[in-house]
């Protein structure tokens, strides 16, 4: 099932488990496969096991059980080879506030063994690419959150990795910075065939960026597929209507009830999931019209990844946060 190409630049995970002392199984037997050049979105609430998975795949945390191969190398047996193949921007851009952007690039390229002349040119190229050339001589302590994230990405790319791990790369960023980062990540996958494993708790991020999405909850992958496939799987759109006269609301509820089960709506509106899909919309309008109910507002909502999460876990992604196991948050700094 796995091609040689996938193995060389992809990720294969089988029954991966991470159990912490006196804690829950942060990751509980997950299987996944990411092909070379693919952007894989790992979606889930805080504490679901996303970061723990990334730490294991980047060799910073040994798995309790299971196997994982990254870039064709086993994460337990071939740690140095895995690290040479990957770049990673982990949660919270880990930068030194006292060093400049250029000094960070010099350190990173040198530690990865690039020659002196290549260090300078690679550093300049990456700083230019992430739009930080103008700020290269400024100390990172003076950077904004977006600038730090962009530098973090540039550092992760210093040694031209084939696989890139991004752990919640846009958390806390404004829309502009987020969009700029998305564009760069898309470009890396499309033009440089870099495999991207991206964790996020933002639905729109997974939707916009990922070729495929894995939804993780309580350490289990509860759904996997392209965003379109996942939405189609639970696939009923919601229609929400608001009567012009408040007095018609009850009758409107009865009419819409013929087309599907109720869904959450605004206080004055009525919403149902359409059993027959969006083609029923015209029928809904005709039915309301024939009952003499004047419509103030009518809207069709396509299914979202939140609907998928809701369908798979019984909870909405927003507000589904749990406490992250202490050791997981502590990453490689946790004593074994």
């Amino acid at each position: 099932m796995t091609t040689a190409t996938q193995r060389s630049g992809g990720i294969e995970v089988e029954s991966l488990v991470r159990e912490f002392k006196n804690g829950p199984r942060a990751v509980d037997g997950i299987d996944l496969e990411v092909a070379q050049g693919e952007i894989y979105g790992f979606l889930g609430p805080n504490g679901a096991g996303k970061s723990t998975t990334v730490l294991m795949l980047t060799t910073l945390l040994p798995p309790t059980a299971g196997t994982a191969r990254v870039g064709g190398f086993d994460v337990v047996e071939q740690g140095p080879q895995v690290r040479a193949s990957i770049g990673a921007a982990l949660q919270e851009a880990a930068l030194d506030p006292l060093l400049t952007g250029r000094e960070h690039m010099r350190l990173q390229t040198a530690l990865h063994g690039l020659g002196k002349s290549e260090r300078e040119s690679r550093g300049n190229e990456l700083l230019e690419r992430v739009g930080l050339a103008h700020a290269a001589e400024r100390k990172v302590g003076e950077y904004s959150g977006g600038m730090k994230r962009r530098l973090d990405l540039a550092l992760a790319l210093a040694h031209r990795p084939r696989i890139l791990f991004l752990d919640e790369p846009t958390t806390g960023l404004d829309i502009q910075s987020r969009t700029a980062l998305w564009e760069e990540v898309s470009r890396l996958a499309a033009e440089d065939a870099v495999t991207v494993f991206l964790t996020t708790q933002y639905l729109e991020e997974a939707d916009a960026l990922a070729n495929r999405v894995g939804i993780i909850d309580h350490g289990h992958i509860v759904a996997e597929g392209s965003p379109a496939e996942l939405k189609a799987e639970i696939g009923r759109p919601t229609v929400e209507a608001m009567p012009r006269n408040e007095a018609d609301r009850e009758r409107m509820t009865a009419v819409l009830g013929r087309f599907g089960e109720g869904a959450g709506s605004s206080p004055r509106g009525v919403a149902v999931r359409l059993d027959g899909g969006e083609s029923q919309l015209a029928e809904v309008v005709r039915a309301l019209d024939s009952e003499g109910i004047a419509i103030e507002h009518l809207q069709l909502h396509a299914p979202s990844l939140d609907d998928v999460f809701l369908a798979k876990t019984g909870r909405s992604l927003e507000g589904a946060e749990e406490g992250e196991p202490v050791e997981a948050a502590d990453a490689a700094v946790a004593p074994a």
């Binding site: 060799t59 880990a94 040198a110 530690l111 990453a331 490689a332």
Partner: protein, 259 residues
């Protein structure tokens, strides 16, 4: 593709040096506080020179050894808190994802302690000499004094690295500072060992390695060239450094659980 050990040490030493130089809050207290205590001790205990058997008639010369040890104690805090911050911010993880060797990380981090040690030694000695202290070993003795001071500073720095790797927090490292000061106070800090007449104090001071570090420095200031004292001082600094480095290496293996 991987950088050699020397190159890795060089890169991290450069970073450590830049960090030290860009943090006046690390350098200034390490210079000012010991000099302040030097002034207090010299003013308050100058009559001690009249005690029979006191090795010099200049208390300033005698007590000038103390700032070198106090300064070295600051290196415990500085090197330790720097590394603890790297752990807390995740910078250590960034380094762990490169082909960096553990030995390079620890050696590179001590470069900041080395630079601070040189600056401290030069400043303490210069201020002491300007204030009227003697240097019996002459100009060559000044070089050896700086070398000894830097050795002690780097050796103490390894204890800071161990504490940071063991506890993982800057607060824990800073909590060691008072403990180390107790070692200083329970040594022949203000009087020569043979003049400490209280039995328990003499017993503790005579097994406290800080006493012999002080005596090595004093030998250059007061006597000239006492090779026995110097060898003991350098030997103790080396032993602390080796033990500290071994403990830090072991703690690093636990801390850095990369496969």
């Amino acid at each position: 593709m991987s950088a050699g050990l020397g190159s890795q040490v060089g890169q991290l030493a450069r970073r450590s040096t830049l960090r030290t130089l860009r943090q006046p809050a690390q350098i200034v207290p390490a210079l000012v506080f010991p000099l302040f205590l030097l002034a207090v001790n010299t003013g308050g205990l100058k009559d001690a020179t009249s005690l029979p058997g006191f090795p010099t008639d200049s208390y300033l010369t005698f007590v000038l050894a103390v700032p070198f040890i106090q300064g070295a104690l600051f290196s415990v805090m500085n090197s330790g808190t720097d590394l603890a911050r790297d752990i807390e911010t995740g910078f250590l993880n960034r380094l762990a994802l490169t082909p960096l060797r553990g030995a390079a990380l620890l050696s590179g981090l001590l470069a900041g302690a080395f630079i601070l040690g040189v600056v401290q030694a030069v400043v303490y000695l210069s201020v002491g000499l300007i204030a009227g202290a003697e240097l019996a070993a002459g100009p060559a003795g000044a070089l050896v004094l700086v070398l000894l001071s830097v050795s002690i500073t780097v050796a103490f720095g390894t204890i800071g690295l161990f504490a940071a790797l063991r506890f993982g927090s800057g607060e824990a490292v800073q909590g060691l500072f008072p403990v180390f000061f107790v070692f200083l106070f329970l040594s022949a800090m203000t009087l020569p060992l043979e003049l400490l007449t209280t039995d328990w104090f003499h017993a503790i001071a005579s097994v406290n390695p800080v006493t012999y570090l002080l005596e090595a420095i004093r030998s250059l200031l007061i006597e000239g060239w006492n090779l026995g004292d110097l060898a003991l001082g350098f030997g103790i600094a080396l032993a602390i450094g080796v033990l500290g480095m071994a403990a830090a290496s072991s703690a690093l293996k636990t801390r850095l659980v990369r496969t």
